[in-house]
Symmetry: C3
Subunit: 380 residues, 3 copies
């Protein structure tokens, strides 16, 4: 049992506890299958960072809701995405997670050859391509957008509006459509990437990220840096709110010592503050004055989620070879603490005690919006 | 092929072979799910030994038909059982199989805190507990009884009568309601505990335990000690029958040499005899003059069962530091021989040859009662 | 990306691409279950080589469509097959894949004893067998044929005509019912056996074997020996066609150097040629002048197949202790290249891009016959 001391405070009377999702939503393989098709394949999904594909011919194969999506940078330097499947007999075009090709993607089974734009350009013994419509047998395209330095793809035939979904989520949280541009995220550089393999349903991870009622119990380093988090209210609870650094805190680091120079463009009123954004269904963004922490989740099974977390700094900081460890360590610990908590919840989701789910206390009520979003998405 | 010599004897004519359960009962995951809810969660289940929880604050988390049940000894030294799930957001309260806490069970996620009696005593930011009914958000209780030194729990909202089920099974076997008290099992001490992880359906293990038609083939040591077992009739075939030790046998040990002093209270007419009791669905008790062997099964999947087996001796024997190995070795070998046989049957349960099951010979006919009990329990 | 050079040739115009099976046929566990009962248990299945069971009492336990089939050589030297399940309580009679017994098969659980002809000959305590019909409780028999040195079994109660299925497939390919006898396959000896465990559906392996459109891309050694394979037409595309060795090629070896003497009986017009035969659902036979390569597939799951491949030579060659490695190496590489390709296709079978399957180019059109055979077999 944890010996953590938690201050118990008098709050309002009339406390109401509203329900979470039922336990089956976190364990049922059929619901997970439905989530793959109705949520992860229908919404914009941050699949990679644009700089992960530096050159013409660079590729990444990414699991998007169970589908292998191949992202390739063309000779024209544009990024495009395709299903990673040869149209002939179904061989995977690229087995590696990443790599690079020269001018084309050639299937290693029968040598059907595709341009970096996905068009079928050659097939042995089928030079008379009059009869084989190149477009008909080109790679299956996937919608792609770049924003905040991320590559967003959408498997839907008619993707939802990027503005009304991804960008609207950021605006709704920050209360200001332009504010996030202050960080110039697409100009930042990956200082550190850590991948976590978590034995928990992706929704437990979203719900954990959305609330700070657990902060006092499991995040001693974070509440030291952001004292208001000990009160249990997440920055996300309020529109536009950034949690303020403690008085003695000099930077967003594991020991509160100075981090790096404030990113050019970040406004004075956003200095010494921490902002957190959830973009459904699989992105978390954390903004602090000198860096950005960007999480992308890859759901693998009802009880397993892989998370890639990037710590992003200015090119100057990274090029200088400065020691990032104190800076990275703070949120790496937060991640480990959170994912441990989620793994602790997962096995109980199938309990009789959780058939109707648990409850949300007032400082968690905004999780109810996520719950309703999931239920609506699955009903479609 | 085994070269075991088996004496084949002329029995009665008119031999009838009655059917076992169909093969699917041992392999179908849906039937196993139904067994979890209709059998293991509705009947009294021996989950631990009372002495496994020696002090106030001692706990055990036990898998009862797929549900993690937390057994805790209170400050009042009473044992209580709860579902091992926080009522707030569903975190497992105790991840370890056993351990101890001080005065309360605190959830390590958001610090909801429960008394050892299961009541909710504190939750951060919810000190105004007028509005949050403590009883409503206390841990979900599970019925608990202690008998024969074992902790029996039942997940049913209305548990069946303990007397009419557990105790009646013992009486039916021994033919005498009080006889088992002669062994004073709750005063005995665990001399040795061995856990077996068996790749077989739990019912194969019950059926194996119930009959002795296999004894001549697979239990050379046991039939040496109990010569009548070579005839193929289990002690369980007859009400009140104890299999008699062979003439030259001095104790229930692997080589027939002396064991320990007869337990005070065991009657002369029960000396030099072996009694076996099956308590549906998951307990086997073996009584010999100087010790008791107590098996608890934990079914894990249609094709996997964990068995905890305790060798129980008087406190004097255990405290003396006497060598238990000859005594333990006999039934440990029997266990291994039996579980090997069960693992050998499991893969054939899905054969076309076993679609309608196999057959029971006359000395196995009492297995038919178990078969009928299972069918009735699943039909409810 | 492979850098293999593939010559692209002008073919006819009017190229048509016909569909393969839909992706679900290669991934759906329910379809695989149906294949086990409708295809592998209803057709003749090459389960072993007769010489694998050299003596009376020799046995093999083989997985035939999920069922363990026990093949035993009797005292009369005849081979017989049974379900590997004791009729009493369902124990596996033989757990080992192969071995030998003396005069009987005795179940190691309760010692029921069967003759090598499957009849029940003894059961402890049931000597009065008047009442227990020995035939009724004999082992469940499985149909068995020997041909081409292979042991073919069929689990159907009424097996299809061996002539109209297995033998007809050979005749249809070679265009001559007697031609295969030239190789005297039942007199050949296993020079080398290699077992491959392939993470792909069995139908991907059949389809791969049937076509040579992939040869130029993935089989450099094979196309060196058989230059016409670079054109993309499999020997199987034409009735009776044997692919001719290249002019400089001296034998069917990895470097084209001489192999062994032509097998007595192989006609001049079949010398310096390679013939390939597919016998649905799980046998491939490759004939070259000095040896025979015989593949038997054992499907294990929708995405896993085990293949046993025998390289068969005359007794003289094997007895001479000659170095077989150059000879074996050629088709071992072909196997590895093919199975790698199949494993590359398997993960893409569940892609949206393959929901309706892929396409067959003209040189693959005969795969359409296999596709139709599968669909008809599953519909029955």
């Amino acid at each position: 049992m944890s010996s953590t001391e938690v201050r118990t405070q008098r709050l309002e009377t009339g406390t109401s506890l509203i329900p979470t999702l039922p336990g089956s939503y976190y364990t049922d393989p059929e619901i997970f299958e439905r989530e793959k098709s109705r949520i992860f394949q229908r919404n914009w999904f941050a699949a990679a960072r644009s700089t992960d594909l530096p050159e013409p011919g660079s590729f990444r194969a990414v699991d998007v809701g169970g589908e292998s999506v191949l992202i390739v940078r063309g000779r024209d330097r544009k990024l495009r995405a395709f299903l990673n499947v040869c149209r002939h007999r179904g061989a995977r075009l690229c087995m590696a997670d990443s790599g690079s090709v020269r001018r084309s993607l050639q299937c290693p089974y029968h040598a059907w050859t595709y341009g970096l734009d996905g068009s079928l350009i050659a097939a042995p013994n089928l030079s008379s391509m009059n009869d084989v419509n190149r477009d008909e047998y080109g790679l299956v395209g996937v919608a792609l957008r770049e924003w905040l330095g991320a590559v967003w793809v959408c498997l839907a035939e008619e993707p939802p509006s990027f503005t009304d979904t991804v960008q609207a989520a950021v605006t709704a949280r920050l209360g200001d459509a332009g504010m996030i541009e202050e960080w110039g995220i697409d100009e930042l550089v990956v200082g550190r990437r850590i991948t976590y393999d978590v034995k928990a349903n992706w929704k437990l991870i979203v719900e954990n990220f959305m609330e700070c009622y657990h902060c006092a119990t499991i995040h001693p380093e974070l509440t030291e840096v952001l004292p208001e988090f000990a009160e249990g209210y997440a920055a996300q609870y309020f529109v536009g709110h950034g949690a303020e650094f403690g008085e003695e805190i000099e930077g967003f680091t594991v020991d509160g010592r100075p981090g790096f120079d404030r990113i050019d463009g970040v406004d004075d009123e956003h200095d010494r503050r921490y902002y957190a954004i959830t973009i459904n269904p699989q992105v978390f963004i954390n903004l602090v004055p000198d860096h950005v922490i960007f999480h992308r989740m890859y759901p693998k099974a009802a009880d397993r989620t892989v998370i890639e977390c990037d710590w992003l700094y200015t090119k100057d900081v990274v090029d200088s070879g400065a020691d990032l460890s104190k800076s990275v360590e703070l949120f790496h610990r937060v991640n480990q603490q959170d994912f441990d908590a989620c793994e602790r919840c997962q096995p109980a989701m199938s309990s009789k005690a959780y058939v109707d789910g648990g409850v949300l206390v007032p400082s968690e009520h905004h999780i109810g919006e996520f719950r309703d979003w999931v239920v609506r998405a699955l009903a479609d």
